[in-house]
Each structure stands twice: as C-alpha cells, then as structure tokens.
C-alpha cells in the first residue's frame, strides 16, 4: 500500500504544478493548448504497452487501447502543429 501513497503524492504535486504552469494564457492559444494537452493525454499509450496480456480479452483490450492512444498521440501532435503554423504575426 505504501507505493500508492507515494503515487498519490506525485499525483497531488503534479496537479498543483499543472495549475501553476498554465495560469495565464492568451485566448489565441486556447485551441492549440487544448489540442496539445490532449496529445499529451495520449500518454495512455505507454500504459497500454505495459498491460498484461494473459487472456484473449486482455489481448484484444490492450490492442485497441494501443490503437486509440496512438490515434490520440499522432493525430493530436500533428493537428496542433498544423494549427500553430497558421498563427502568424505580421
């Protein structure tokens, strides 16, 4: 159980860090920030890669978890990049 306490400790610190990190943001960047953050949430790909694949069901679930997380990661970063390249200053 101690390991979970340690993990929750990391969790709490990361939340506060996140809140401090993005306290001020110009509205021009609202969509790209959301989309870029969204790509980061594709980190579930890493989780999907470490899943146990003992049973057939687990195998299938892991497979689809990887597929959807990959869509999230690749799609998210590419679409954010495409968007940010449009934002130009004169």
């Amino acid at each position: 159980m101690e390991i979970f306490l340690l993990l929750f400790f990391i969790l709490v610190l990361a939340i506060f860090l996140g809140l401090e990190l993005i306290s001020k943001i110009p509205s021009t960047l609202h969509t790209p920030l959301m989309s870029g953050a969204n790509a980061i949430s594709g980190i579930t790909l890493v989780g999907a890669l470490t899943l146990d694949t003992g049973s057939d069901l687990q195998m299938i679930l892991a497979f689809f978890a990887i597929v959807f997380a990959s869509i999230n990661v690749f799609g998210g970063y590419l679409v954010t990049n495409r968007m940010l390249r449009m934002f130009k200053k004169k």
């Binding site: 993005i22 870029g36 949430s41 990661v73 998210g76």
Partner: protein, 462 residues
C-alpha cells in the same frame, strides 16, 4: 542493462519535456516549439516502454494502425473542422484509459482500493469518450437543436446512473469489509453493467448542454481525459501516466474556469441548469430595428477611420472568415485601422474564432480580447458584428434581472456606429433579447454573413 532503471529515468526526462512543452505552448512566440518539445517527451516515454514489450509485432501493428488513422485525420481534415477533430481525439484518449482499466479488472484483484480505482478510471474514461463523441457530432452539425423533454430525460437518467455507481462501489466496500461477501461472478456482472453505464453517463451528460456552452464542456472533457490517464497511471503503477495525466487535467481545468468566468456562470449552472430555466426574467424589448442595405453600409465604412470586427458562431457557420479578411485588407488600404474583438466564448470551442481567422491569414496581434477593446470602444467609428449575439448583449451590463447579467461582454454599443450582420431577428443561444439591435446607433444588415460581406467587398473594389 537494467530496463526498469532505464524506463524510470526515461519517464523523468519525458515529464520534464512535457512540463517545458506546456509552458512554451502557453506563449505565442514559443508555442510551436513547445508542441515539438512535448512530442519529443512522448517519443522518449514510448521508446523506453517498448524496450520491455513482450509481443513487439502485435504492438507495432496496433501502433501503425493508430498512427496511420491519426495522421490521416490530422493532415487531411479541413482547417474549419479542427474543433470537432480536437473533440474526437480527446475522446479516443478517454477510450484508451477505459480499455486500460477494463483490462486491469481482468487481473482479478481482490483489494477493494484497486477495484474502486478501476471503477473510477472506467467511469471517467467512458464519460470522456462518449461525451466527446456527442461534442464531435454537435460541432460537426450532425446533432442540431435541442429538445426540452429529451434533455430532462437525460438529466434524470444521469441521476439514475449516479445511483448505480454508488451501488457498484458499495458492493466492493461491503465485500472487502466482510459485512456481506459478493461472489466474484456477481462483481463481474456489475462491472460489465458499469462499463455500459459509464458510456451512457457521457451521453446523458453532454446531450442536454447547449451549443453556446460547448467551449466549457470541451475544456472539461479535455481535463477529464487527463484525469482518466492519471488514475490509470496509479492503477498501473506508472509515473509517466500520473504526471502527464495530471498536467493535462490541470490545464484543462484552468481552461474550463476561464471559459466559465467569461460567461459569469458557475459550472453547476452550465452543466445542470442551462439558460432556459431562468430566462423568464428577461423582458420583452419594444422598439424598432433599423435595417440597412449593403450599399449604405459601404458608404458608412468607406468614411470610417477605425473599424472593429466582432465575429461569433455565425461567422463559423457561414464560413465567412476569408471574405472577412478580404474586407479587412480593403479597409486597411482605405487607411482605416482594423482590429478584431474576440470574446473568449465566441463560437463553439475555446479559441474557435482565433483558429478560423488564423486560417484566413489574419495576424494574431490584431485579435484583441474584451479587456483591450472596451476601453477604446468610444473612439471606434464602426463595429461590425458578424453572427455574434450574446457576447455583445448590453443586458449583461445594463439589466440586473437578465440571465446573462454580469457576463463580461464586448461593449459594441458604445461605438459610434454598430452594424449587425444577422440572418434573422431570432434571439441568441441564451434565449435573451438583445437590446443592442434596437439602439439608436445600430443598423441591421440582414442576410447570410458571407454574401453580405462579399457584397461590401465588391462595392469597395468598384
């Protein structure tokens, strides 16, 4: 070589890159590089994890499929469809967490703490997925309008699901404390129903929420996708998931609160009440609007020295951003100062107008927030309101009984002349009459926004 050590070290590097990436993403000059930095973090995290993968071929196949679909979507999608694209990707992240937790459930843990964590991950992941899917359909205009009866059913259904969630969790708690032991088979059945209930909860949650509140919902779903990932991280004892998930959860929350503040409403009101129930407070406005023809509009604008363009969802619907930019250029050639007033909740997602105008090559330093345009509003000759309504509604400052009273608006009514481009006289999303349309200095240019502006452009060219 100790793979575990290498993996944890890789996660630390990835976490640092995510933090810097997000930080850079919140400033205009560094945003593009920030996205790159964060993607390198992701690459490192994935590579160090791949070192220990048992079945590399199957894993690579799954990744190639996902990468192919994701890249195709991201590169082929039209710029105007970006809002729904972002919503969809967000949903896929949630779905992935949903599958992660489902798979973990099959490891048959009997520790109640782990089971509850599994349930929470499933629930948040499921809500994120199905909620984002509805947001996707609403943004792509497949789902339109709203039905009051259906909305009420959805809300009651959501309460019903919440009861079920409580039952499912108390089942585990009772079991683990030994008060009443449920067989694993029974818990398994509950879990299957719980999977479905989580998906339905997302539908019931987002369906009743109106289009104008979409910016808040999408930011919240974005936040939830991070929370789901972080919970899955605790479940899998994976620090990379926890840190990255929390960062996303927090940034989404910040954005959600910015959106809610821009509407001067609290989250409970947005998600569970909506505008409709308190709009009986608004008064009928009597008076006449003064229509204007494109030709006369041209004459006014031709002599204007400063013009502020205020776009809203109507501009997005009419796909008018390119002609708007053309009009802006012509005005500038005419030695007129042109700027754009962008309200944070204009459109259907945070920053919706900014993305559309960026696509049309409008420089972002011309896009001003309400706090920057309002102080100089009195000096502006002409304000053109394109398909925006509630964000320029003076009731928000003048009429204490109004449902939108207190919402920070773009104070267009203070300008010398206001020209409102509008399809018809229907009220805005909030269902509130807009006194701006009846003001002495307001002229209404009825018709499709794109056609009206195109007419102005051709007048200028002659």
């Amino acid at each position: 070589m100790d793979f575990n050590f290498l993996q944890e070290a890789g996660y630390i590097v990835a976490a640092i890159l995510f933090i810097f990436g997000l930080k850079m993403l919140s400033k205009e000059d560094t945003a593009a590089r920030g996205n790159l930095v964060s993607s390198i973090g992701m690459l490192i995290a994935v590579l160090v994890t791949l070192l220990k993968v048992i079945d590399p071929y199957l894993v690579l196949l799954a990744m190639i499929i996902g990468a192919g679909i994701g890249s195709l979507f991201a590169l082929k999608v039209k710029m105007t469809s970006i809002p729904e694209m972002v919503a969809l990707f967000n949903g896929f992240g949630g779905l992935s967490s949903f599958f992660l937790a489902w798979s973990e459930f099959n490891n048959q843990s009997t520790i109640s703490f782990i089971l509850i964590l599994t349930y929470m991950t499933v629930f948040i992941g499921g809500v994120t997925f199905s909620g984002s899917l509805i947001a996707f359909f609403k943004l792509s205009e497949v789902l339109k309008g709203s039905n009051n009866l259906f909305n009420n059913i959805s809300r009651w259904f959501l309460i019903f699901i919440c009861f079920f969630v409580l039952i499912a969790i108390s089942q585990i708690v009772l079991s683990s404390t030994g008060i009443f032991i449920f067989s694993f088979e029974l818990i398994e059945i509950t879990f299957i129903v719980f999977l479905i209930a989580s998906l339905l909860a997302g539908l019931a949650f987002v369906i009743p929420i109106g289009g104008g509140d979409m910016p808040v919902v999408i930011s919240l779903l974005n936040s939830l996708s991070g929370v789901a990932a972080a919970l899955a991280g605790v479940l899998l004892l994976n620090t990379a998931l926890i840190v990255a998930g929390c960062l996303v959860g927090a940034s989404g929350l910040v954005l959600t609160l910015i959106m809610a503040k821009s509407m001067n409403r609290d989250l409970y009101n947005i998600f569970f009440v909506g505008y409709a129930s308190d709009s009986n407070l608004s008064e009928e406005i009597t008076g006449e609007t003064k229509p204007i023809s494109p030709e006369d509009t041209y004459l006014i604008m031709e002599s204007a020295r400063s013009v502020l363009i205020v776009p809203g969802y109507g501009m997005a619907v009419a796909q008018a951003q390119h002609v708007v930019k053309e009009l802006g250029d012509l005005l500038e050639e005419n030695e007129c100062e042109v700027s754009y007033g962008i309200h944070p909740v204009a459109g259907r997602m945070p920053g919706h107008m900014n993305v559309l105008l960026a696509e049309a090559n409008v420089s972002y330093d011309n896009l001003l927030e309400p706090k920057d345009v309002n102080p100089k509003m009195k000096t502006i000759d002409v304000v053109i309101v394109i398909g925006a309504n509630d964000v320029v509604n003076p009731s928000a400052t003048e009429q204490p009984g109004s449902p939108i009273y207190g919402m920070p608006i773009i104070e267009a009514y203070q300008a010398k002349t206001v020209i409102v481009l509008k399809r018809s006289m229907s009220s805005g999303f909030a269902g509130v009459q807009n006194p701006l349309f009846f003001k002495e200095n307001t002229r209404m240019l009825f018709g499709d926004a794109k056609e009206s502006i195109a007419k102005l452009v051709s007048e200028f060219k002659e």
